[in-house]
Subunit: 434 residues, 2 copies
């Protein structure tokens, strides 16, 4: 019997839009945690997020159709949290804590929609800005990036014949599974999917998450993607991001206040969250100056997430600081999340195993590693370094220095001022593959 | 929209039998060519075909359920050629010739059904015999082998979870496509699918054939599988097999007649077919004695298919004979078909390129190469050396010597007699992976 499912076939050939983002939960969990705090403490701050394509050689606006991009962004703007999503957010435990989201926040969230966007094509690139209240613009970062990355994949895949697509995904699965098998050799591994923003596609991210669940069992501890966490019964993982210190720093009215901003934001965080959510992200203006001036109470936090220093040096720097502060690193947690892949995870794991608790946030190299798997070598599916960053805060420039000078953002004058205050990073610039 | 196709789902979970062989065309093309000649010249010869599992370590009857095997064999017996199949056989050109099948043969074929079988379990193996007229028993060889091999695959795959199956086939596709890419480097390659009898499954063979079509274009010249050739608009490929000289040899009433049997069968072949179908299979009783005593007219045939000597030595032996007979090897064809894989195809191609026309029949290593692709290494999917050979002819023992002593078959006394008459092969026994 050859049964053609006519309804499916007709459906496949007639739909107008195949939405990339179909739920407001299709975002990183830390956005919801930060949003609750931002709405509570900074409801009137105005923040502009802007798209930055650090892979300048890839002329995105020549690859992705502007009208398609607008359709996808408009579709995302039409979304609200569904009833069952709201019920899950209210009823689920996150990081072992019930009711982490307060009732008044959830009530407000039920009415949430993504705000307007500004899109222009300039010299083969998209200029995409989100102006408005921080409580709204911050929620665009993840869906905007996921949409652009998937539209780029789709544009490339349109040139593939059916059979080539079959081989492409077969190879991608085989490549991914080889990594899973390598990681199976690490008995105390704790791994998390951090790959939403730069994923090849939503369906591919879901496949990767299922592969990790199947292949690593308990060693795969969850996904930063709230929708996938809900749908696959995984933990939703994530704490806080650079936007918090960047915004508080930009709001500072003096050099003194600026110098204190990275710690003030953590005091605020502590007033909202506890336990395993007390993870320090130390590199926004350089880890060195952060640790040098850090208040003693920070040593009591659960862990650090070094996100731009080379993993081993960055980890050692923090361990040395814990020791200096009288803490036992074996009771502390390091979360590695900067451009990790199977080999760097292995190397970092073996370096620190037994000396500190570790977990790994695996992002782009998990959900968008099609390098070498395309039947026609072309590079069009290789991941690019696309970010969406805080650019302005109440009209003032925002700055990130980072431990990797290649990741610094901000207007040159402002960057110089921050360097005067926080010092230069001792690390050299490293190329950004992702 | 998550649309579950309820009808498909219910169908998938309720069918009783998933037939492995669904058409009498799901066999090797040479069987039809030989059948036409056998029916014309030897309609009253009685031939027993018997299953031989040369991979004795694999206890087939402990793996494959006997009742399932009977169901599949019974289903194959229920088949007749369909109207459109008969129309295609009558109307299609084969090897550039129209009406290669004569009307009276096709009329007879329309009523053809597979005859009875005898199946017993003995010490972990199946004894499977087909007794009766040669015109009927010969048609069991390919479907019987395909059924047993696929039942073995299915038995192993029953232990796999859904995700493991996904990874298994992804890896198998990736492995297969790597071979295709290697073969793309050979500009004058002529490749044929010869993988029906030992395929992993029918659907997998179809995928492999599609992969070759897509990846090699004109360099993939066809399939021995008549059904796949018809369905995918490829040439049906094949000429003649060992059973012809084996049966004629067994019918010989004297040593003298026996010595001439390998040539008599080719005279008969020539009375039925011409052109590119004039391919000599010289190794049934050893290529050495075959060439030493071959009549001069055989040098005029299109080519040879060395099927058990090491490819390069076997080819050189035939080229030397052509030269001795005053033929130009560049106008001749060598068909290599013994356990070929991408590396031996490459090596043989590069060795003979420019000196002789070549084509490659790629069998088990094309359609059943799951070595190393299973998520759980177990070997249960590795191919085995399973054959179905002529055992008796009108009650007399049948013998094959071959250029590889490991491939010799027949009762010891009869084998000794044949060795006396045809001589011993100069080649050493080589292990049979497939």
């Amino acid at each position: 019997m050859v049964a053609t499912d006519i309804a499916t076939r007709v459906w496949n050939h007639t739909f107008k839009l195949d939405p990339i983002v179909r739920s407001l939960l299709d975002t990183d969990f830390y956005k919801l945690l930060m949003l609750q705090m931002v709405r509570g403490l900074h409801p009137d701050v105005s923040v502009t997020f802007s798209l930055i394509n650090r892979s300048k050689g890839v002329r995105l606006a020549d690859i992705v159709d502007e009208a398609e991009l607008r359709e996808q962004l408009d579709h995302a703007r039409s979304l609200t949290f569904s009833k069952r999503e709201m019920i899950w957010l209210a009823g689920n435990s996150f990081y072992g804590t019930k009711q982490i989201f307060r009732p008044d926040f959830l009530e407000w969230l039920a009415g949430f929609q993504l705000p307007e966007y500004e899109l222009r094509r300039v010299d083969g690139q998209f200029e995409l800005d989100f102006h408005g209240p921080w409580t709204h613009t911050m929620m665009w970062e993840i869906p905007a990036l996921a949409i652009i990355n998937e539209l780029r994949s789709r544009a490339v895949l349109k040139q593939f014949k059916r059979f080539e697509l079959d081989v492409l995904y077969a190879r991608a699965k085989a490549k991914m599974w080889e990594k899973v098998e390598r990681l199976q050799a690490l008995p105390n591994l704790k791994l998390t999917d951090f790959g939403t923003r730069r994923r090849h596609s939503f369906l591919w991210q879901r496949w990767c998450v299922e592969a990790l669940k199947e292949g690593l069992g308990d060693r795969f501890i969850g996904s930063s993607n709230v929708l996938l966490a809900m749908e696959t019964d995984l933990e939703a993982i994530g704490t806080n991001a650079h936007e918090l210190p960047m915004v508080l720093a930009a709001l500072a009215d003096s050099d003194e206040e600026l110098r204190g901003a990275p710690y003030r934001v953590l005091e605020q965080w502590q007033s909202y969250y506890g336990g395993n959510l007390l993870i320090v992200l130390p590199d926004t203006f350089g880890t060195g100056s952060f640790l040098a001036n850090a208040p003693a109470w920070l040593a009591g936090w659960t862990g650090f997430r070094p996100d731009s220093a080379p993993a081993i040096q960055g980890g050692e720097e923090i361990i040395a600081w814990w020791r200096m502060m009288g803490e036992n690193p074996r009771e502390k947690l390091l979360v590695f999340s900067d451009g990790m892949d199977a080999d760097t995870i292995e190397k970092t794991y073996r370096h620190f195993d037994g000396r500190v608790r570790m977990s790994f946030g695996w992002g782009t190299n998990l959900t968008n590693d099609f390098r070498g798997v395309s039947p026609e070598p072309m590079g069009g599916l290789d991941p690019i370094s696309l970010v969406c960053k805080v650019a302005k805060v109440n009209g003032r420039p925002a700055v990130k220095l980072s431990d990797n000078p290649a990741k610094a953002t901000g207007e040159p004058e402002a960057v110089e001022r921050y360097k005067r205050i926080f010092g230069e990073t001792p690390y050299e610039a490293r190329a950004l593959a992702v």
